[in-house]
Amino acid sequence: MSRRAFLVVGLLAAVLVAGAAVLWASAHPDGLEFVSREHGFADQSSSPGRRGGAAWSLGGLALVALVAGGLFWALRRRGSRDEA
């Protein structure tokens, strides 16, 4: 598989997982949230609920791809490395 094909397949997989999460992710509280309710400190949270839905999820996904991709492209060593 070429590197370009690999990246395209990987990005598609990420979009699919994000889409599947919008549709099918468990709505139950996660481990920390569950424990915080059980131990009576869930109410200490002053954060609003997490945003969901396809638009926010896919927008967030695109933002991560841009920010992380840009950061790593800027940090990389230029030129091809000596292959070990």
Partner: protein, 230 residues
């Protein structure tokens, strides 16, 4: 495992914020050695995939769910320094855009998921690699082990932080038991997902998996002349 605003008091949040800044600064230096023209796009993909994976909550029973933290996954695929940056970018976007994890708790979340989970996951992966046969097929099982260990490790550190700097009184013993218990189960899910994803990458392009390089070094270059006329 995203800590919201208000769980930890200000001094504790300041300390975790300082730890996070120091950790990211070290990672920014170290990641230069892991990133080149070939691996930089791969690292961006890893961050993107972890962001998607963190949204996919899976049920773990009794009305509780878990989701991928991705620390071990990112460390094995992109290298540990780059993984710290991958998870930090994911957490930054989640806090600022998705309202997932508090903004004042960003340092805490980076400490737990980008530093503790990545470092513990990577070290456990390397330990497993030294124990297992040095073969490319062993990279995914070793990654799964690192992933499994990384989740309760992060839960343990959160419990410690809450016992020291939590905004509500809790019994240390029961909090530790509950956090470690649930996150050991969630760690099994983390291990399965990490093992499957790393296994897929290694079977397609082992050279793009940072943690597989050591196993590839022993391979000799094979020249297949029959394929020249393609």
């Amino acid at each position: 495992m995203h800590v919201p605003d208000g769980f930890l008091d200000a001094p504790t949040s300041l300390v975790t914020g300082a730890v996070a800044v120091a950790g990211v600064a070290i990672a920014l230096r170290g990641a230069r050695r892991e990133l080149d023209d070939r691996t930089a796009p791969m690292a961006g993909l890893v961050a993107t995939f972890v962001f998607a994976g963190q949204m996919m909550n899976f049920p773990v029973g009794a009305g509780t769910s878990g989701h991928l933290l991705g620390g071990a996954l990112a460390a094995v695929l992109a290298g540990p320094f780059t993984a710290v940056l991958c998870i930090s970018v994911v957490l930054l976007v989640q806090a600022l855009v998705m309202a997932d994890g508090g903004i004042t708790a960003l340092g805490t979340n980076v400490t737990l998921m980008a530093l503790v989970a990545v470092v513990v996951g990577w070290l456990a992966f390397r330990v497993a690699q030294t124990v297992l046969p040095r073969r490319t097929s062993m990279v995914a099982p070793a990654a799964a082990f690192g992933a499994f260990v990384s989740v309760p490790a992060a839960a343990l550190v959160f419990s410690g932080l809450f016992i020291v700097g939590g905004t509500a009184p809790v019994d240390a013993g029961t909090l530790l038991t509950a956090m470690l218990g649930w996150h050991t189960v969630i760690g099994l899910g983390e291990a399965v997902i990490t093992g499957l994803v790393v296994g897929s990458v290694v079977s397609a392009r082992p050279d793009l998996c940072h943690g597989a390089r050591r196993t590839l070094q022993g391979r000799t270059l094979e020249v297949r002349t029959s394929q020249v006329t393609g």
